[in-house]
Symmetry: C2
Amino acid sequence: MPNVIVKTGNKILEINAQQGQNLLELLRKADIDISTPCNGNGTCGKCKVRILSGHLPNPSQNEIKVLGFNAIESGYRLSCCYAVRSDVEILLESDSLQAQIVTEGRQRSFELDPVVTKENIVLEKPSLSSQISDFERVLGSCSMLEVNTPSLQLIRNIPELIRQKDYNISLIKTGTRLLGVEAGDTTESLYGVAVDIGTTTIAAYLIDLTDGERLCVYSGLNPQKKFGADVISRIKHTIDSETGLEELNNLIINEINSCIGAMCEEANISRSDIYAITLVGNTTMTHFLLKVPAKNIAAAPFIPAVTSMVKINAKELGVDINPYGLAFVLPAVSAYIGADTVGAVLSTGMYEQEDISLLIDIGTNGEIVLGNREVLYACSSAAGPAFEGANIRNGIGSIKGAINSISLKSGVSYTTIGGAEPVGICGTGIVDGIAQLLEMGIVDETGRLDDEWEPATPEQASLAKNITVVDNMNAFLICGDIAITQKDIRELQNAKGAIAAGINVLVKQSGINFSDIKNVYLAGGFGTYINVDSALKIGLIPFQLRGKIQPVGNAAGQGAIEGLLSVKRLSDAEIISKKIKYIELSSSKDFNDFYMNCMMFE
Amino acid sequence: MPNVIVKTGNKILEINAQQGQNLLELLRKADIDISTPCNGNGTCGKCKVRILSGHLPNPSQNEIKVLGFNAIESGYRLSCCYAVRSDVEILLESDSLQAQIVTEGRQRSFELDPVVTKENIVLEKPSLSSQISDFERVLGSCSMLEVNTPSLQLIRNIPELIRQKDYNISLIKTGTRLLGVEAGDTTESLYGVAVDIGTTTIAAYLIDLTDGERLCVYSGLNPQKKFGADVISRIKHTIDSETGLEELNNLIINEINSCIGAMCEEANISRSDIYAITLVGNTTMTHFLLKVPAKNIAAAPFIPAVTSMVKINAKELGVDINPYGLAFVLPAVSAYIGADTVGAVLSTGMYEQEDISLLIDIGTNGEIVLGNREVLYACSSAAGPAFEGANIRNGIGSIKGAINSISLKSGVSYTTIGGAEPVGICGTGIVDGIAQLLEMGIVDETGRLDDEWEPATPEQASLAKNITVVDNMNAFLICGDIAITQKDIRELQNAKGAIAAGINVLVKQSGINFSDIKNVYLAGGFGTYINVDSALKIGLIPFQLRGKIQPVGNAAGQGAIEGLLSVKRLSDAEIISKKIKYIELSSSKDFNDFYMNCMMFE
């Protein structure tokens, strides 16, 4: 029986295979959640592996086509096309593993009043005593219709359309404005899409606008990541390359179009049944989406090209839905408080409440909003990517097999995403692990990992042997060779210090007391899965806020959905974007002072 | 010396040429006003002649290119490339002769408030304490600016534009809406174009929007005429051919673009200095312009696709001006009361006056409007093309050499357009001629031409010899073989009967008395040049209106100019289009009764 060694992230697995067994089948049986959109048909290329040693068969024509010549030369093959003939060592890259993306949001109730509506009417037939033109006949059919000049194409289409089903037509409207006309009664086909474009991931939702029902959820990776993991690298690409902005725009538009295609297929509807799309994202992402120059976002004084709501024909944006369909990009506040944050404020409802709330969305940047229906303050704190597992020795994204919780109560125990074999530690796992090390006294309040630590109780005794040296640093082993190092602790101190300092700046500048804050909303994947006690323990969230913290899931995406379903909510987004007072931290002395303090553990 | 026989329309000229003389030069010396846009450079093809007999040289490469192989085979050559070597007989087609198109309108005073304006401003520079986005910075620069989402392209361009001249920019606006932004102070470059699209001719005007000055006038023939002289033939072409509408649209858009090009060259400005274009035309012409199906205009119940004002980006229409430029197609009333009539009502001001006015624009159809600031009634009477010289034995358009006035007071005397040798009789000449024949008693009140007429005075004696028989009909010779026949008189009776009946229907339906009508405005070329006494004599205009008649020139084109220069006038056009009550004559018993009466002479 051939032996297959699978290297993936920081984990090595050994699996026994049947002679000639299909590699994809083998990986699936071993519970490795490999991404296979084409379901093993050799067309999507997502199940690619790199053969590090062992039998390397000649590539099939298909593999050359899907992977490209360079990848073939570097030893990549498709696992769905590979038969195990002998011992083999393979590398599975993390982007082949399915990411865990939070697509659930917390929903407030609201009246259904979608951004696009339909109305079925039967027109009076033309005669010598009713000679009004076709277009005016349609406009006059509905007392609420505005006479604003609509698209020329609509005027061109109307004569044939209204006669197709004997003057029975459906009006497509946004508010009181006529967008389009269809022959016959089509009022039952009315769908919308909401999209949250993250730097790393994309979440999209297909919504039935006639009843508000969510039909499908789609999540995927942002294909722009090949031009850099963070917004600054991608903006740099648009500066360095004349076609850079165009490339980034094409990538996201194509991804949106293919995710719409996938959802339509799943829900068994047509693209042309979709009449509206709402989009949120950080300011850089919405600039790339709109193909608007983002270069002034990257350097002081950090000036975006546009922050107001952009409402255009979806066609103009390149989004392939109904030709009359509209696209709404929610408004942003500044270069680093984007439409995603506005969407999150919208869906939490904090802008309407008398109670003061604090919203925290932690990613590479932590966006923080503080306030209520009277005032809203916001800042963006550059935490760095530690919470996303980057710059951490065994750090990893929220993929299957990532250690996402750690307990040292009775020896080392942990859980992983999907219950799979551990492949690394994700952000919530790091926070948990360091909180536990603090709890045990293995790490002190300055962040020093004590290599001469002595257990205080018999239950703790077994932990001592996990204290070790890795890469010439003190470290604590979690399992196998997955460890938390002294450097990891320093990275976390920087990251949590930045977030905590941001919170403190907002509290100080707004004149609000910690005790006045009634709700703390944790948005996004990190906020959803984080152990709140650990977050308090390490001082990521100030201790005074204990007991007030609740995760709100993908609040940004939920905001986009609400904008689709409620004209009122969409206009609330504009009110929010104007109401939020943005505090620039890069020029704040307060921030620097708080930052130095907040890096400490207590 | 070679002898050149020139046949043109119904006239034959004999000219002596120098050996080897250039034919174009010869024709010009003989005062034949041949159209030569390229000024004899062999590139425009307008000076083409057909060699009927005599020396036919081999064509140059240029002539083959400009005229095409079929024309060359049929004996066409360019007169600017032809040297006269021997006796030759040539045919000059009427479309090579410059048409006399009325481009002058009568102007009322109004406040200058053009549809597009510019404003120069200097923006506050961005800094860490002024981080507002580029687009919002521009919007915020001007308190009157609306936040309506403008074009995506504008948002894309703004970041670079505002930095080009150190935040000194010019805003391009329509009303309070931002259309575009330019770097630096460009407020001095702001031009507009007004176009009147007739079935036969086009008139265009280049206007300086900063002071209202008219810089250029352009007139030309509507190139759509190759698909038929009248609107019905052209609509038929759009029904018969799938690409018909596209073809007609292309022809007019190309003609508009080339006329804009010619005017820009004359005024030494760039196309991109033009920010607005207003257009009028009959309803069929505006449908072709907008590429909107016109087929339902042609048959009862005569339903246009659109009659409201269409305001779109000029780019969307295919009109090549500034990329931010707007196009306004003035509103129409019905299938046969178009934006041209609305423009004419606008420029006469009759819709604002307490006095009741009657507007008559005579072409193939006669559009008639009656009313004042309280009520406006309109109808369109199918006069047929007799007033344009068609269906008349020696009838001809208003080109050079057309007999345009006739007197029989002391023998036969006449004038021609441009004072040239007579080539035929145009509409005003026919009216004059028949009025004089009535005056002399040669034609009686039933329209019969009396071949046994006897002169009543010695002055009239010489006229008797002009009464003759042509084409087996009684006829009256004007000069050479140019005559007015019995059939011509019948054609005129039909035509003038239709107009006069239309006037009578409006008077009856509106309940207005003839004596209440204070002004009669005669619009268009025919109205400008007609002898008012003759028009009254033949009963084209009811006799009760004597003394109230004034020509108003190209009132439709003047309306388009006023719409360009005054937002108020443009919105007045919409008010007019809605106020006019359209009377359909095709279903009117009154019209038939009046028509029978009005065909008589008194």
